[in-house]
């Protein structure tokens, strides 16, 4: 049976998850040129916020009611941490050499992981997360979509659409574009750029919380270290798509997700490459793709070549 449709669906769902997290890297980078390496932990904290919310809900509650509440609870936690991090860790370093906030971000990432590990009840091992139960959607004989995958495949495009409209049409969105292009001049227009920066962190964190709920529903568990590798992958997706470009984040995520899914399924069928296929090599192929793309298009798929200032 041809398994290509199934692999494409798996890749798309994984890519949509990467894309949702990648938004956080790309928005913050686009505005303050900071690689927020703690964003993977913001994602993880979104997951624990959602789990806490779920535990607080009456047992036996329908997932259709619980999920929106879990997203809200997760977003409160992730946005809260992101805004505090911006205010107390990054803002004092604005104007400092770029290495300083970068190292701060790495440190913050370790601190946040350890805080959850040490303080969240039973977080030293994986905590179980509510799972989607019920039938998968059988689209074709060779295409079955799990509920969690269907959920992210519907949700991610909606989130992107909302974000795209916000950035291009709303007053705050235009202020955000102006701040990204030229922060000092944005201030001269009357834009409170500090507020815009906080907004970029908050939007990225909210998207990360959505991603964390999707991830938990899919895997049935969350761990304190889950933000590390997923954060790295999402960061890769952001660079692949062109960091600073919000659509690039989603495109990069999808390309990366598809590359992983297809490499797992097909590389081992290539004669002589049996050893290099399967799940164990998926990360390798993902990063090979990144390197190839950056060799050809250093600015990423949708990134713009940064022109010299006139």
């Amino acid at each position: 049976m041809n398994e290509l449709p199934q692999q494409l669906a798996n890749g798309l769902a994984l890519g949509a998850l990467y894309g949702l997290i990648a938004i956080g890297y790309t928005m913050v980078y686009g505005i303050v040129q900071l690689i927020n390496f703690a964003h993977g932990e913001i994602f993880m904290i979104g997951g624990f916020g959602a789990l806490t919310t779920y535990i607080g809900l009456p047992s036996g509650i329908s997932l259709f009611v619980a999920i929106p509440l879990m997203i809200i609870g997760g977003a409160i936690a992730s946005v809260g941490v992101a805004v505090l991090a911006e205010r107390f860790a990054y803002r004092p370093l604005r104007g400092a050499p770029r290495l300083a906030p970068l190292i701060t971000a790495i440190g913050l990432s370790i601190v946040l992981q350890q805080l959850v590990w040490g303080w969240y009840p039973d977080a030293k091992k994986a905590r179980s997360f509510p799972e989607f139960t019920g039938e998968s959607f059988k689209i074709l004989d060779n295409l079955i979509i799990q509920r969690a995958d269907a959920f992210v495949l519907v949700l991610a495009p909606l989130c992107m659409l909302a974000l795209g409209l916000f950035v291009s049409k709303s007053r705050n969105g235009r202020a955000m574009q102006a701040t990204a292009q030229d922060p000092d001049t944005a201030k001269l227009m009357g834009i409170n750029t500090d507020r815009i920066i906080v907004m970029a962190f908050a939007i990225g964190a909210a998207f990360a919380a959505i991603a964390a709920v999707v991830y938990g529903l899919d895997k049935g568990q969350i761990q304190f270290e889950m933000g590390f590798i997923l954060g790295l992958k999402a960061f890769t997706a952001a660079v692949l798509g062109g960091i600073g470009n919000i659509y690039g984040a989603m495109v990069g995520g999808v390309v990366l997700g598809l590359a992983e899914a297809l490499s797992i399924a097909y590389i081992e069928e290539i004669p002589g490459m049996q050893q290099l296929g399967g799940g164990a090599w998926a990360n390798v192929w993902a990063f090979v793709l990144l390197i190839v793309v950056l060799l050809v298009r250093p600015q990423g798929l949708l990134g713009e070549r940064v022109a010299d200032r006139a």
């Binding site: 227009m189 009357g190 834009i191």
Partner: protein, 238 residues
Amino acid sequence: MTALLEVEDLRVAYGKIEAVKGISFSVEAGQVVTLIGTNGAGKTTTLRTLSGLLRPSGGRISFDGKPLAGYPAHKIVALGLAHSPEGRHIFPRLSIVENLRLGAFLRTDKAGIEQDIERAYDLFPILRERSKQAAGTLSGGEQQMLAMGRALMCQPKLLMLDEPSMGLSPIMMQKIMSTITELKSRGTTILLVEQNAQAALSLADQGHVMEVGRIVLSGTGEHLLHDESVRKAYLGED
């Protein structure tokens, strides 16, 4: 009666290096005042401090009767002080009309904003033709027009123009200068920083010559234009 802008003993430092070493001047409503001087004299630093992008290390600034010290830049615009920065700094990936709208960011009167966009187009017709085009695709002179039009969009009480003729062709320079003259005739109050001293002094009511962070000479534009030391130093005469 107090002036619209009063600067008293203003000092600005980058770290330990003082770029502006205690200057005083004022701008009356309706006047065009120009600061001239060579590169590094502190003219741009002065404007960036007035608009709040830099913090003064000493002295007093009062604008429209209010002290400005310690105000962040985005609140100073709200008081009616617009700044068209050196190097134009239009938003390159936004369209011309979006750039103009950002100039009116703090305004809420939609009809008034549309009217002022039309006015900017009347002042610079090329902007109307290209209104949907990304601002980064404009020529240097057109970008300068956009920067000035954008600064006017907040209906400023005082318009600060930093080197509006820098890097422009002689024809474009003339066009920009005649626009400034037109703005003056409409009663716009302008603080103009220019390297083209001849052009700036010919249209200014008041001029101040800056050298390494100090005002070394002040007078009416007419007076400075005929001052021997100014002619020697800035107008290229022996």
